[in-house]
């Protein structure tokens, strides 16, 4: 049984189990209130699932890609919860959860803000039904979407407003059941911090 958390776009929390399926899920596509809602969502999932923290075998963290401020809230929550519960963190690429269960090639696109998008492409799922990422996650200008789509003929375009934590958790269960590797425990910011190294103090007198 897994607690799954994703804040790469909106906020989504779920409790899932390989055999029992989705026990509870709470989601919001609000891209500005991750820190406000995260705790209530986790609590609501436990209340609805009727399980104890000790019943978990791990905590799934959607590692992005996503705009950094929101993305970090979910990863911080997943890591802290796992630490408190003495369970492992299970990192998963958020886009993989969107592609999971779609039985055709997919192009997953999420909003990266500032007129940019995050995108990943997937071939048909493999024999175990797991997503096969063929490129990405990458960052592109929103205006490039059209050319990305035409470069991927036969791909279904999914523009996700929230990465749902239920498939995120179920994907983690399936990866584990099939002896596959999880993602690296590294946030996928795909952008450097916006800083320029100043050339030196500017003159104040003319």
């Amino acid at each position: 049984m897994l607690l799954a958390i994703d804040t790469s776009v909106g906020t989504s929390v779920a409790i899932v189990d390989l055999r029992l399926g989705v026990l509870a899920e709470r989601s919001s596509d609000d891209t500005r209130r991750h820190a406000e809602v995260i705790g209530e969502f986790i609590q609501a999932c436990f209340d609805e699932a009727g399980i104890a923290v000790a019943d978990l075998s791990g905590v799934v963290a959607g590692m992005g890609p996503g705009p950094f401020t929101g993305l970090r809230v979910g990863i911080a929550a997943a890591r802290a919860f796992a630490f408190g519960a003495a369970k492992p963190v299970v990192p998963i690429v958020s886009h993989d959860a969107v592609a999971f269960g779609v039985v055709q090639p997919v192009l997953v696109v999420t909003d990266a803000r500032r007129n940019e998008i995050h995108w990943s492409s997937y071939a048909m799922p493999d024999a175990a039904g797991l997503p096969t990422r063929t490129s990405g996650p990458s960052l592109a200008r929103a205006a490039e979407l059209e050319s990305i789509v035409s470069a991927h003929p036969g791909h279904r375009l999914i523009q996700a407003r929230t990465v749902s934590a239920a498939p995120l958790g179920l994907l983690a269960e399936s990866l584990y059941a099939n002896g596959r590797q999880f993602a690296a425990d590294v946030p996928l910011y795909l952008r450097s911090p916006d800083v320029t190294i100043s050339a030196g103090p500017k003159r104040v007198t003319g």
Binding site: A35, E36, G74
Partner: protein, 347 residues
């Protein structure tokens, strides 16, 4: 619960702080700073700080528990800074604290960073006496508070209307070609300099300003004045007397800080002044504060330096006082508030 065991989480600026207290006894104070990462930019870069918090948080938690010699399960409550501070940085602590609180089944207290700077004074074994004036000066804030009661009555008397004092130190250090962070650099450069060599302006200290801004601070004009002075010297082909400029600039900052704090003590008839924030590390701040407080019959309190800079112990200490005073936990719905007013002691 008379002596609650509280874990405090602080991520409002560039220090990831995890502290553990039992009532007003300090058990652990772990600080992971991202200061070195900001050095090449000459100031705190919010996104760099927030990324560092995410990576530092769990290791700092582990170290704090080891330092305190307790298990997570022993903790009675969690306290976290919900503001004021850098929004993206605060959110890391808030997200982590909420999750940790649910995982442990322990109550969560969202507290005010500035009031935490005051509460930390409890940890040196002496009770806080009220009322007290508190002067909190760092790279992120410059605030003058009147504290009548730590958990129920804190008033903002004044604050900076532009740069924080710590920022002014950073900017003038850069101007003089000194590295970041500027505070210790200016301090070092100023030793041997003449603080009276150049009369730099004291912000918001003219009679006309005092009506509206009696307890407010401004360092932007001072910074510009130093820049003008240095440019004029350089343009004239003179060698800039770095020690004198540093000493005179530092004197202007410290003079205004302490003058306004002492004025507040006098105006409100409060014979106590508490200093907090990283700028307290500045030797001249402590020196002038001690001199002028002694002259005015004001009792000066300066917590140990590692408790003056941003830390988790101060957040835990404030959380413990809220619990002792019978305050209910904050619940899970609060957010990070970068401009949380000082009157909101608990969010």
């Amino acid at each position: 619960m008379s002596e609650p065991l509280v874990l405090g989480i602080e991520t409002s600026c560039d220090e990831t702080g995890i502290g553990i207290v039992r009532g007003s006894t300090l058990l652990a104070n772990v600080i992971a700073s991202s200061m070195d990462e900001h050095a090449r930019y000459g100031g705190v870069v919010p996104e760099v700080a927030a990324r560092a918090h995410l990576e530092a948080l769990t290791p700092a938690l582990k170290r704090a528990l080891a330092e305190a010699g307790i298990a997570l399960a022993d903790i009675d409550a969690i306290a976290v800074t919900s503001g004021p501070g850098l929004a993206g940085a605060l959110m890391v602590g808030v997200g982590a604290a909420k999750a940790l609180s649910i995982a442990l089944g322990k109550p969560l207290y969202a507290v005010n960073h500035l009031v935490g700077h005051v509460g930390v004074d409890l940890l040196d074994g002496e009770p806080l006496e009220y009322p007290t004036i508190a002067l909190l000066v760092s790279g992120g804030h410059t605030s003058l508070l009147l504290v009548r009661d730590l958990v129920s009555d804190v008033e903002l008397l004044g604050e900076t209307i532009d740069d924080a004092a710590g920022e002014a130190f950073d900017k003038v250090a850069r101007l003089l070609g000194l590295p970041y962070p500027g505070g210790p650099q200016i301090d070092r450069a100023a030793s041997g300099g003449d603080p009276a060599a150049i009369r730099f302006p004291r912000g918001l200290s003219q009679p006309k300003d005092l009506d509206k801004h009696r307890y407010d601070f401004s360092f932007s004009g001072l910074k510009t004045a130093v820049a003008r002075w240095v440019e004029r010297e350089r343009d004239a082909g003179a060698v800039v007397p770095v020690a004198d400029v540093a000493a005179s600039f530092r004197e202007a900052v410290v003079d205004v800080l302490i003058a306004k704090a002492i004025a507040a003590c006098a105006d409100y008839g409060v014979p106590r002044l508490l200093l907090g924030g990283g700028v307290v590390a500045n030797a001249r701040v402590r020196e002038i504060a001690a001199e002028r407080c002694a002259a005015a019959g004001i009792r000066l309190r300066i917590p140990p330096l590692e408790l003056c800079t941003d830390n988790g112990a101060m957040i835990a200490a404030l959380g413990a006082q809220l619990i002792i005073a019978g305050h209910a936990p904050s619940g899970l719905g609060f957010g990070a508030d970068s401009t949380l007013p000082v009157t909101t002691i608990q969010a």
